[in-house]
Amino acid sequence: MTAQAGAGYSENTDSFRAGLQAAQAAVAEAGAPPHLALAYCTSKHDPHRLHAGVRSALGPSARIVGGHSVGAITRDRLGYEGYQACVGALTLPGTAIHLFLERDIAGREFEVGRRLGGQLAGVSDDGWRSLLLTYDSLRENTPDRGPALNLATPLIAGMDETIGRWPSVAGVGVFGDLQFNPTYQFFDDQVMQQTASALLLCGDVRMDTIIMHGCEPAGRYHTITKAEGPVILEIDGRPALDIIAQLLGAEENQTVEDYPLFVTLGVNRGERFGPFREEDYANRLCMAVDKVRRGLVMFEDDLQAGSEVQLMRRSIDQKYVGTRCRELLRRLGGRRPFFALYIDCAGRAAAYCGSEREEAEEVQHAIGSVMPLLGMYSGVEIAQVGHQIQALDWTGVLCIFSEP
């Protein structure tokens, strides 16, 4: 028996029906009772009711993982900001499915990572090992302090201490919208907040990944001279907000409130003055501003004093996305691909980045004709870059599941 998969999509405003419709469509496309379902929905949905709808379509035995997303993608549907929901259903004979959960991630990312890595290290199954991480991106959003995030970088660092050898990995920091409303995660029959989970597949199924950025440097190098956690306080010895304001120039209608989800800083890990190579850059998006300390609050905390950064501009090359998709397909060799998962930074959506077309349409075009596609718009993406597992912003991570 071979692996089978399907993906379903719904924009029904009734959360139960949305879950039911998306899951029914996924199961129908898979053509067999699923062992595993990946379910995502926007924050406009009641996650409990949506989960109940998904469960009612799947039956009691299928394992469920997923959570909130800013939008949903399948091979023929795509949407965000509304009532989108999507479900992927996978029938995986010959593959062991392990799910691990850690709670209370807020402020304890490293420790949660260590514990999660420890659980994964205890799995002794043979075969290919593929890991999908899911964690709550939003720690809190209070009226006085604004949004604060759970960070993937220490989560990964914690896992790195205990996991031993990393399997093929992809991960998603879940967001339900870009207003920083509370987020939820699904773990079997639990609907929770502030968790990190790991889905580990062991056996015949292999997950291959490829990343796609979409930024290029728009200026010269600057040096971060002071940072505290994810807050960049000073650049070139001056308050970060002042530097950004100077670089962007005075614009009557533009204020520091315009910087979040817009200002992107890139770190070039390649040749300093060599030709631009997208894969050499790690990009970090500004999430909020700290007006009191005149700092930029970034999505991750890996930009520290001494980091050289450049202001980046969004530049998604649609053709490049298609090329990268086909590159990943070629990498499979003779294996049979049966399911694709696309973890797409919400900022890459056309409405947010200002592109004319949706870059996810290129993925639909390149992948959707080959296999079922499930995608979600995320807050943070995790993937392997070079030899490192990295938290990424502004990135699309395409994962293809295949079997011999």
Partner: protein, 461 residues
Amino acid sequence: MADVPDTDALTAELEYYRQRIDRLAGDTLRRDYLTSELRHQLRQNRQAFSLLAELQRSIQLNSETTHVFDDAVRGINAQLSMDRTLVLAPTETLNAFRPAHWIGYREESAARLGAATFVFPESFLAGSQSLLVNGTSDRTPLVEQLREALEIPYFVAVPLRSDEGVLGVLLSGRLREVKPVCPPLDVGDVDTFRALASFISTGIRNKRIGVLEETLRVAARIQGDLLPKSTPTLEGYELVGRTLPAQIVGGDYYDFIVVDEGRCAICLGDVAGKGLPAALLMANLQASIRGQTLWSPSAADCMTRANRLLFLSTDPGSYATLVYGVLNTRSHYFSYTNGGHNAPMLVHRQEVTARLTTGGTVLGLFQNSKFEEDVVHLDAGDVLVLYSDGVTEAVDTEGREFGETRLASLLTEQHQDPAGTLADRILNSVILHGRGMPQADDITLVVVKRMPPNAPARRTL
């Protein structure tokens, strides 16, 4: 000796290019931001148009306003990136409204919504004001009450107005203001919601008109089916009926029922009311009369029984006037009874010699009404005209009725015309009389003419 580069000059040049690069980078990024903002707005505008199309479909498909409002709140929340949207419905208290349709609430919050009531100022409900609440708005007591009770910090509210008054209040908003994805609501959003409210209100009004028109068309079909499909051919007689409804559906009715070879029942009535109820009452009356005619050819008996049936089978207050008679084409007697209807005129030798007044009261009001019967004889050349009050009560631009006198004069002058010509002449005269005025009532008449001796046989339509 080769020139040694001037370090100061190079430094200056480097600084110059740095500044230029920074400037160009800033310009590029600002344009990117502007492009992004414009595309976001464009997307929202596109979605607003999609929403209009959705609402149009909803209005076409749903006959109940409540379903349209449900679709509206769903569509607005989904397409316009709103977190919560409500339609508040009017209560019995003046200017007070209560949440009736909503989306974006968890069950525990939704349970509290229906209990909240808000009183809106007259100026808002009249449409001259909207409510725009963003991070910098003034907080009036009403705004604070709405924010707290509906749990929406930032919102737009507009009235849903129609010709009949205020249908409700449309209110939609967001939990947070986050640029650029959910920027503070502004006057542009107010314009969008005003347009939406107008679209919904107009759509509902047009839908109601459409439903009404469809109802009238159905009623007109019913009424059309009640009128005789053809006029019976009576030996030695011309028989013709004409009706001109004031609305799509009128309240007048006439019928010819062949009882046997030598007898034909003729009736003309006027049911109370207009539109579908009148058409149904008329159908009821016709069925009663037809049934009773075949059971008992006596005019008084038929009318008495029909009255009883009508009384028992209709709502109190439903009634009709009716003249009913049976013409014997051999004896040339017309035995009739008049249930509160305009008295038919008999023209004999160029004069109106008789008014057919014998009978009783209107049909349907009293269960045990009794009707008397009388007989008139039709000589050769005599003309009998049954008519509704729409003929005699048609008014001209100065308020003068067409009147019985004018009708009688017309009959005496034109009684020699064939029945069809005479009927059309009366109809045209009434229409001409009422020219410039809306037709207030149905105009219906039946003309029965006994042919003079040796007159060529004519079949009238």
